[in-house]
């Protein structure tokens, strides 16, 4: 639990200012609605994403730890990072400094050169989804719903970084985003590839591999008649949304799946306007999908009615 | 540095068997601890521990079954009530409370027993020999 006052340190990350501006807009909108105040850490710097760490780990850790030190100085016990990559890097470095005294010492020396210091473990790094589900709680969210998303079929996409290497949720099969979307009134489809990788930076290194990874996820969502994919990371959103034309071209498929942020879905359910939520800035338009809200769901293709001599399923 | 002399009072059903299990698995640990077998850790009166210190023991171990596992049911509850007070008493008399180790080892925990002995011997080695206190 964070400070009871709902105040959190906020680490926006580089994409929120640019390609993922809609994620920032919708985050600010729902925070206002839920009474959460995210205080941006002053003078935060880049989280090193995946490239820098593979170049020089200690330098990268020190770069990342600088953000932790700034957050600690501002008195935050909880630092919110809405993007999976930033969350993982900050969370990992905090953990490494606690577990490995050698790293702690090297990073400490680097920070001291800039007049900074950081005591490992003093700042809890949290993902925004974790704040909404654990601290605010799903009941508080449902209380704010004015326009339930009934009729909309969504595929909850966690991405591969959030629940690995360890988290309070099952690394293979987390369900807290599913629960949130269900609470918003949407129908959450069966989506086994919810934690499979979206290709990450592979789109810049080897398109064919990346496009095949993206195709699998789109195909799995489309198979269950999902109207939209809901994600929690700007990188995943970009990959699944921006490269749909290339995937359709390469694999002769006809996917048209809008990829939206869970904060945008919450905003819609809270009855906020598209403009406030940055809806419309996505490349694969979500207009057709949002028209489904309030309509009856299409008839399930697989007959749900149990055959008379069907065997019972083990209860989950 | 003089090798510390340590006396261990072990309960017959759990910690003594834990020591045997460590032996059967050929785990190695320092030879400083001499083990005395008692039916239950509840049998160990504070006087026995104090008398061991008086005889010049640098450290005393009182090892029993985990709470709830005692072969006699609640024997080790008494240990859990007497020994913390004895530790405080040592402290108030200027004797390092770490000289008295009170812990719980089950018959299956050979590894834990060996580690306990290694760590305790190191702790005692770091302290000045107890004999100096007596003079």
């Amino acid at each position: 639990m964070s400070q009871s006052t709902g105040h959190y340190g906020f680490y926006p990350g580089c994409s929120m200012g640019a390609t993922a501006r809609s994620y920032l807009q919708s985050t600010e909108a729902i925070c206002k609605a839920l009474g959460l105040t995210l205080k941006e850490v002053d003078d935060w710097n880049c989280c090193g994403a995946s490239e820098y760490i593979s170049m020089n780990s200690v330098a990268a850790y020190s770069l990342i730890a600088r953000n932790l030190s700034l957050a600690a100085q501002e008195g935050h016990t909880d630092l919110v990072a809405p993007c999976n990559m930033c969350f993982l890097n900050l969370h990992k470095v905090d953990g490494y400094m606690e577990k490995y005294p050698k790293i702690n010492q090297q990073v400490g020396r680097a920070l001291a050169a800039g007049g900074l210091s950081y005591k490992a473990g003093s700042v809890h790094v949290r993902h925004l989804l974790d704040i909404v589900v654990e601290d605010v709680g799903i009941d508080a969210v449902t209380a704010k719903i004015t326009r339930p998303l009934k009729g909309l079929r969504v595929a909850p996409y966690y991405g591969c970084l959030l629940t690995r290497p360890d988290s309070r949720y099952s690394p293979e099969y987390p369900t807290h985003l599913d629960d949130l979307l269900e609470a918003l009134g949407a129908t959450v489809v069966e989506f086994p590839l919810k934690t499979q990788c979206c290709g990450g930076h592979m789109t810049q290194i080897k398109e064919a591999t990346a496009y095949d990874m993206i195709r699998r996820i789109l195909q799995n969502a489309a198979e269950d008649q999902a109207d939209a994919i809901v994600t929690i990371c700007p990188m995943c959103q970009l990959n699944l949304d921006a490269f749909q034309p290339q995937v359709n071209g390469m694999f002769k498929t006809k996917f048209h799946l809008p990829v939206l942020y869970f904060t945008q879905m919450m905003g819609v359910a809270f009855g906020l306007s598209n403009k406030e939520l940055g809806i419309g800035s996505e490349i694969t338009s979500s207009k057709t999908a949002f028209r489904k809200i309030g309509q009856e769901e299409p008839e399930e293709q697989k007959s749900l009615k149990r055959d008379k001599n069907a065997l019972p399923m083990p209860r989950l | 540095m003089v090798e510390p002399k340590i006396i261990g009072f072990l309960c017959n059903w759990c910690s003594y068997r834990g020591a045997d299990t460590a032996g059967m698995a050929r785990m190695k640990y320092p030879p400083n601890v001499k083990i005395i077998r008692v039916p239950c850790s509840g049998r160990i009166s504070p006087e026995l521990v104090l008398r061991s210190f008086r005889e010049g023991a640098d450290g005393v171990m009182v090892l029993g079954c985990h709470i709830g596992d005692c072969h006699y049911g609640t024997g080790n509850h008494r240990t859990a009530k007497r020994m913390p007070v004895l530790k405080k008493l040592l402290e108030y008399n200027g004797i390092e409370p770490e000289r008295l180790c009170v812990d719980w080892v089950s018959a299956a925990e050979g590894e834990k027993f060996a580690t306990l002995i290694r760590e305790f011997t190191e702790t005692i080695k770091a302290l000045p020999p107890f004999v100096e206190v007596i003079k």
């Binding site: 065997l311 083990p314 | 032996g23 509840g42 160990i44 024997g75 240990t79």
Partner: protein, 669 residues
């Protein structure tokens, strides 16, 4: 104790002790210890020549105390006590120094090991001088026996003891005995029909004149000690009057309420609210499941009562509390199956056609929900390809480290039965194939011969998300094939998870109830893993079958017989020797403060109102010494563990350590 004449015997134990401890030096050194008249070392003290050496010394040298420095008292204290009493010396005038498990085996440096042995011998010699002769208490053994758990191990033990003429109370928690074995269709490696070989034993056990069967019952409380246990049993209400019920089964036909049977049918079959678990159930008296019976929910229906020809339905029946007197107890409470839902990536509970091993056993069983037809979850389609995954939840640091020992053979049996009944392609994903008994590996060769594909690698994931063409609508098993060093994706129609065995969920509480202890994995701890696997550290309580660790049916049956033999030998002796080391109150010094009375775990201390003194009831005292530790005025002494003995044992050790410290003794190699 100046007049004590002590004999010291240092054992080589082959090289176990002599390999690290200079036993000759220890024996030599012990000669100069106070009151020691003879000190020898010998290759194997526990051998008959070793024991005879002690006996002759006692007789010829008039020894009044004996110390043997060898292994742990838990191993050979009874042996050497026997030697002493054979030579006319009271067995309690004997003490051991544990210089093997607690010295030679755990110390690398030979000089240190030898010095430690000397200190331990000095401690024992200093202690033994203060030991007093004691006469043990002999307590008659109640010939009746309690067997807890009606699985194959429990049934075997019950039959053996009943056949020997003794009375057995068999308590089983479920409505019928039979345990997990009754759920199986075939048994490996002989492919016998499980029910065919088990049912005769079940009926024998039930109808045996020396057996009282309590099903749908649990043991609530156990008091007393070996030979004299008082057991309280709760016989849960069946809401059916057993003598009146003929087992005609009409009530089950007429009962309108159908419920998923999570216990016997492992969740893949149904049963009525009034049911017997399977046709050959023993006893074949049904039980009414109170939680699902419409009468108990809404007060209506009562169909079973209307149609019952003998009026055996009794809705007002109450639980019965029964108290029994028994001399020995055998725990044969079996195992629980690992719940595969704890591994989300295998999809059990989420993907329809992923089955647990017990579910598949019920599928293949002729009396099962599909009358033996191997079909998918829709109850109709016959699978064309089946994947079987070994070690689900076993040999896995995230779940259970141990190998559950039966899953390989079980998986091979499944492969054979799938081939035989459906002709489907079968893929087995294994780490190692373990076939450790007679005709096991031949069975493996047979299954190989039938064309089952074996892929060596732990399965990473079972998913229904198709990726390549040909995977649609299938379950894809992704695993690394370590033999060809490649990742493989095998699409199949059905997946069987060979889940491992786990201790019963309530094993810890049951262990505390019967006064025994559990290992870290919550299996019951045996007295000695190799030499005494069916006894426990609590005399009179024995274990048999999977409750002591994963094992297959032959091993469980063998342990059932073993536990029965141990019980019969105790009953044969007619009485059992109770530790003489009990506590006694010194009435001169006792001031009647009564602090000792609540400290006794067994309530065996009473307060004599007239004398205003505490008094210990010897028969109830187990000799734990807690009261001795509580009494401030030291008015209670625990025989064989008196303050004088323990303090002198400590002094013996301390003085020798101080001696070595001073001389910095150099041991002549």
């Amino acid at each position: 104790m100046s007049e004590a004449r002590i004999g010291v015997y240092v054992c080589h134990c082959g090289s176990n002790i002599a390999g690290t401890v200079d036993v000759a030096a220890v024996a030599k050194w012990a000669e100069d210890l106070p009151n020691v008249v003879v000190s020898r070392d010998y290759k194997f003290m526990c051998s008959s020549p070793g024991q005879e050496m002690i006996e002759t010394d006692i007789k010829e040298l008039g020894l009044t105390r004996v110390v043997v420095a060898s292994c742990s008292p838990h191993l050979h204290e009874p042996t050497f006590r026997g030697a002493c009493s054979r030579a006319g010396l009271n067995p309690y005038l004997f003490e051991m120094a544990n210089i093997r498990e607690q010295d030679s085996w755990v110390t690398t440096d030979q000089v240190e090991a030898t010095k430690k042995a000397m200190s331990l011998v000095a401690a024992a010699v200093s202690r033994v001088a203060y030991q007093q002769p004691l006469e043990s208490l002999f307590v008659p053994i109640d010939p009746n026996v309690l067997v807890v758990g009606g699985g194959v191990a429990g049934i075997q033990a019950t039959l053996e003891i009943a056949d020997s003429g003794r009375h057995v109370y068999l308590v089983e928690r479920e409505p019928s005995i039979g345990g997990h074995m009754a759920q199986l269709d075939k048994t490996f490696p002989t492919l016998d029909c499980s029910a065919c070989i088990l049912t005769p034993k079940m009926t024998n056990a039930a109808n045996h004149q020396n057996v009282t069967l309590f099903t749908w019952s649990e043991v609530e409380k156990v008091e007393g000690y070996v030979g004299n246990f008082t057991v309280t049993i709760r016989k849960r209400a069946r809401y059916i009057d057993e003598p009146l019920c003929t087992g005609c089964g009409v009530c089950q036909e007429k009962c309108p309420k159908k419920v998923i049977d999570d216990v016997f049918e492992a969740g893949i079959g149904y049963r009525k609210a009034v049911y017997i678990p399977f046709p050959q159930a023993v006893p074949n008296t049904p039980v009414i499941d109170r939680d699902n019976c419409i009468f108990f929910e809404k007060g209506t229906c009562k169909a079973c009562e209307k149609f019952c020809p003998t009026g055996a339905i009794k809705f007002d029946q109450e639980d019965e509390i029964i108290t029994l007197k028994v001399g020995n107890i055998i725990l044969a409470t079996g195992y629980d199956l690992f719940d595969a839902r704890r591994i989300p990536q295998y999809g059990y509970g989420r993907l329809e056609n992923v089955f647990s091993s017990l579910e598949f056993e019920r599928l293949t069983n002729a009396a099962g929900p599909t009358l033996g037809r191997v079909v998918l979850r829709d109850g109709v389609t016959v699978p064309k390809s089946v994947g079987i995954i070994h070690c689900v939840g076993s040999r896995d640091k995230n779940y259970n480290n141990y190998c559950s020992s039966i899953c390989c053979m079980q998986s091979l049996k499944f492969a054979h039965m799938v081939k035989e009944r459906t002709g489907a392609e079968v893929y087995e994903f294994y780490i190692d194939i373990r076939t450790p008994a007679k005709a096991y590996d031949e069975f493996y060769q047979k299954v190989l011969g039938e064309g089952t594909h074996f892929i060596r690698g732990r399965v990473a994931e079972v998913t229904d998300a198709a990726r390549q063409p040909g995977e649609e609508g299938k379950l894809i098993i992704q695993a690394e094939d370590t033999l060809i060093g490649k990742q493989r994706r095998i699409p199949v129609d059905m997946v069987i998870l060979s889940s491992g065995l786990e201790a019963r969920a309530d094993a810890k509480e049951v262990a505390i109830k019967f006064g025994i202890s559990c290992s870290a994995d919550e299996w019951f701890i045996e007295k000695h893993p190799k030499l005494d696997p069916v006894a426990t550290m609590t005399d009179g309580v024995f274990v048999a079958g999977a409750c002591q660790g994963p094992k297959d049916i032959p091993a469980s049956v063998a342990q059932g017989s073993a536990a029965a033999a141990r019980v019969m030998s105790l009953i044969g002796q007619g009485e059992v020797e109770i530790e003489a080391a009990t506590a006694i109150v010194n009435e001169e010094t006792c001031v009647g403060c009564q602090e000792c009375i609540p400290s006794c775990p067994y309530g065996s201390i009473e307060f004599l109102e007239d004398k205003k003194k505490a008094h210990i009831i010897e028969a109830l005292c187990k000799g734990c010494g807690t009261c001795v530790g509580t009494c401030l005025s030291k008015s209670i002494t625990l025989r064989h563990f008196t303050d004088e003995q323990l303090v002198n044992e400590m002094i013996g050790a301390m003085q020798s350590m101080k001696l070595f410290e001073a001389q910095d003794l150099v041991i002549v190699e």
